[in-house]
């Protein structure tokens, strides 16, 4: 398979704090890859390593076959980069910033894509980006990336600070971009529900490292939520193990998350001498599944 990004055995620490160990993933050309995780689990760290702004303790990332620590200008021209918080050169206005970036991407710059988005903004032509709202700044940043027309887009928490309308607008344009031939997206977000119809493959990080690497389809079909009630108000102490991914209890109402099928879960509960009733699988959104796997805290 043709991979745009290949990360092999990435290990990184901040001081003595382990961020992750031996994380590996590949992103096939034309796919959308989500790196999911709570705040502080290493999403931005991974993006910094991918862009060459951080040297991992060990391991290597290849982008278009080049070591991410030594990306050539030609390869950088193929990568669109959205910084967390839609950071751009805020001392420029929308005309100045378009003029600035367009010179770096001769032959590939699609200024119509930028101006189409800018037409939707209620901003003065000479208004500095610094004085725009977070939503407006996100549109400027998105417009610039779309105009660059990169083969790979790296988006670091695009949803940060955006209201529902701007998030939807961002996603609509992003979906349009991913439908184009051979475009690849690497995305992180803390709003998991937005990614439900967007991503193909994903990795979920938690504070101990990689929790799960899967495709969205496989995850949806294999990861399940079961609810049951206890016969009495006893406190169960089911710890995550090979069968149980996560377990929550509120009074006598229990929720168990597992990759196993209902019969196996029932047998497991019986083996633990749990007296349960009203056992049923409950459908989940991607966000439910994410929280089910990573926990609420």
């Amino acid at each position: 398979m043709d991979f745009v990004v290949e990360c092999k055995n990435l290990t990184h620490y901040y001081g003595n704090k382990l961020i992750y160990e031996n994380m590996s993933f590949n992103i096939p050309r034309g796919s959308t890859f989500g790196l999911l995780g709570k705040n502080g689990t290493g999403k931005t760290t991974t993006i910094n390593i991918l862009n060459g702004y951080l040297k991992p303790r060990s391991g290597q990332c290849l982008i278009f076959g080049e070591d991410s620590q030594k990306l050539s200008p030609q390869t950088k021209a193929r990568i669109g980069f959205l910084m967390e918080g839609h950071i751009q050169f805020n001392f420029m206005n929308i005309h100045q910033i378009e003029k600035f970036y367009s010179a770096f991407y001769p032959g590939q710059w699609k200024k119509e894509a930028y101006w189409e988005l800018m037409a939707k903004l209620q901003v003065e032509p000479d208004q500095k980006i610094a004085t725009m709202s977070c939503g407006q700044r996100s549109q400027v940043a998105l417009g610039l990336i779309l105009a660059q027309d990169p083969d790979l887009m790296i988006l670091d928490d695009y949803s940060m600070g955006l209201d529902a309308g701007y998030r939807r607008l961002f996603l609509d344009y992003l979906s349009e971009y991913t439908r184009a031939e051979n475009k690849t997206v690497f995305i992180t977000s803390h709003i998991i529900q937005d990614l439900e119809d967007l991503i193909d493959d994903f990795v979920i990080l938690d504070y101990r490292g990689v929790l799960l690497a899967s495709t969205l389809d496989r995850f949806r079909s294999e990861f399940k939520q079961f609810r049951f009630d206890l016969e009495n108000d006893t406190q169960l102490s089911l710890q995550p193990d090979e069968l149980v991914s996560n377990f929550e209890q509120l009074k006598n109402r229990c929720t168990l998350y597992s990759f196993s099928d209902p019969a196996e879960v029932k047998a497991y509960l019986k083996s633990k001498q749990v007296n349960f009733k009203n056992f049923k699988p409950v459908p989940m959104s991607l966000e439910d599944a994410f929280i089910g796997l990573t926990g609420k805290y």
Partner: protein, 225 residues
């Protein structure tokens, strides 16, 4: 691409640069007007006695101005790059990273050299208007370390801003203080050409900054924390 990068740097420094240009011209005008006033009030002999025999430096208002301009231009150029780590966006541009950093620093450096050249030419015209040509070389040689200090202040400011670790930043500030103190300490009090013999050493010392100017930015690029 290079033109576009220069355009970005110009957008950042233009207002501060024009203001510094204005401040320099105002101070130079003040120096010229003060000499003319003193000649009218005291007489030319007294002005000559103070300026040449007693070696009172009549343009000492210029002493700290190059350093101030160096710090201001370095700050307006690199503070926006470091705030929210925008330098990542700059380094993501499809150009060689060393070329990008050298061009950025080169813009501020060249702008200051132009400013100092204009200041030196203006000062020369003022001096030649009131004094014989022999005074001019002393005046310029005496002021040279001040302008050199301005360039050092600019390079030091860029390094302090791009350095990612606070401890190293403080060390860079101490080194800069040592340099600037050495270049400016005795100049106004010691008469003309106090530093003439030391000038080649000053220039040699300044190479420290030329050689190491990219080191903090490269540390930023590698993600040193």
């Amino acid at each position: 691409m290079i033109k576009s990068l220069l355009y970005k740097e110009w957008l950042k420094i233009r207002w501060a640069y024009l203001i510094m240009f204005g401040v320099f011209l105002l101070i130079l005008a003040k120096i010229g007007l003060e000499i003319a006033y003193d000649i009218r009030q005291m007489d030319a002999n007294a002005v000559w006695y103070n300026a040449v025999i007693r070696q009172q430096i009549f343009y000492s208002w210029l002493l700290y101005l190059p350093v101030l301009s160096g710090i201001v231009i370095g700050s307006v150029q690199f503070a926006p790059e470091i705030s929210a780590k925008r330098l990542k966006l700059t380094l993501h541009l499809p150009l060689n990273e060393t070329t990008i950093l050298l061009l950025m620093t080169g813009v501020g450096f060249a702008a200051l050299v132009l400013l100092y050249l204009v200041a030196c030419i203006s000062l020369s015209l003022i001096v030649l208007h009131f004094f014989p040509v022999q005074v001019l070389s002393s005046v310029l040689i005496t002021a040279l370390p001040w302008f050199l200090a301005g360039l050092i202040a600019y390079l030091a400011t860029t390094m302090i801003f791009t350095e990612p670790v606070w401890l190293q930043r403080v060390l860079l500030m101490i080194v800069a203080w040592f340099f600037l103190n050495t270049y400016l300490l005795y100049s106004p009090r010691g008469g003309y050409e106090t530093y003439t013999h030391a000038l080649p050493w000053f220039i040699l010392l300044s190479l420290f900054y030329i050689i190491s100017i990219l080191t903090p930015a490269q540390r930023f690029r590698r993600g040193v924390e």
